[in-house]
Symmetry: C2
Amino acid sequence: MHGRCQRGPSWWQGKFRGCGYRFTVPRMAILDVLNITSGHLSAEDIYMNVHKDYPNVGLTTVYRTLELLVQMELVVRSDFGDGRARYELNQGPKGERHHHHHLVCTNCGRVIDYTDFIKDEIELLQRTEKGLSKKYNFKIDSHIIQFYGLCEKCRRKGK
Amino acid sequence: MHGRCQRGPSWWQGKFRGCGYRFTVPRMAILDVLNITSGHLSAEDIYMNVHKDYPNVGLTTVYRTLELLVQMELVVRSDFGDGRARYELNQGPKGERHHHHHLVCTNCGRVIDYTDFIKDEIELLQRTEKGLSKKYNFKIDSHIIQFYGLCEKCRRKGK
DNA sequence: TTGTTATTGAAAATCATTTTCATTAATATT
DNA sequence: AATATTAATGAAAATGATTTTCAATAACAA
Ligand SMILES: [Mn+2]
Ligand SMILES: [Mn+2]
Ligand SMILES: [Zn+2]
Ligand SMILES: [Zn+2]
């Protein structure tokens, strides 16, 4: 009863080593926090969580590791307009990719992931991408879609 | 031959006064720069342009004015991931609103406005918004869509 | 076990934006 | 036109997230 976990330490280690990077304690700890915690964490959030178990891991290392993880496409970095970057793992516990978009509450800052309508979206996006690359000769690699408004809680409180 | 210009100094003045704000020289100068210049300007860009004609207008005032203009919805503020906010007038010289989205070159930073496919987009967005507000009870006010990739020039140089 | 060097942590630097506060100027009032 | 009121301004300092520097450390190939 140990050999399960499709995306765990050993998988990450392989990924790191495969890219020629060392698999260090701080990197492991940071991935662990991202894996366990749900939501959209700031560097500071991650630092504080890592700090509980590894008090000598520095904030600088958190920033550096996140940069690396984003570059390796293990982590997605988002900006929701509050002045700090947010990070989340690019795959679920079983390794499924979770391409999704965001609803951002302009009152309380809450961020909701959604994957609904992705089907329709993909269809439109493909048409759009095709048209845009033709018209502007622009090669599209990725996109972001964010909806801004009021979350349930903030609506009730009548903002 | 002066009485033309649907969105000029006098219109802005009215807008300001109507909101209880004073129409000052720096505010006028900043709007002027935004009106004349096309593209997505940073606060610094605007400051430098204003500075040519009004060397005693400070950067602080540029920031404060932009904040006000965004709040008044005369100006749109965007973030293209280069660490500084970008601003553009929310309406063309004739007052038409220009709801549009952006293509952002991840190599050179160029930003292209596009309004193509907006029809299709609006349709999808409306369906999505309806679905999302029902499912998450989220009241959507606005959205952003950005495509990232390589612009024509950068494609040629083979990045 | 040892050598090589990628990685780390602390402190300092950067840089966009915000705050502070005394001065100035837009506009309502006389 | 002159004056009073106070919103707006500019310079300097503060802020806060992120990056850089550099000497010490620890992965890991040999
Ligand atoms: Mn998310
Ligand atoms: Mn634009
Ligand atoms: Zn909310
Ligand atoms: Zn480019």
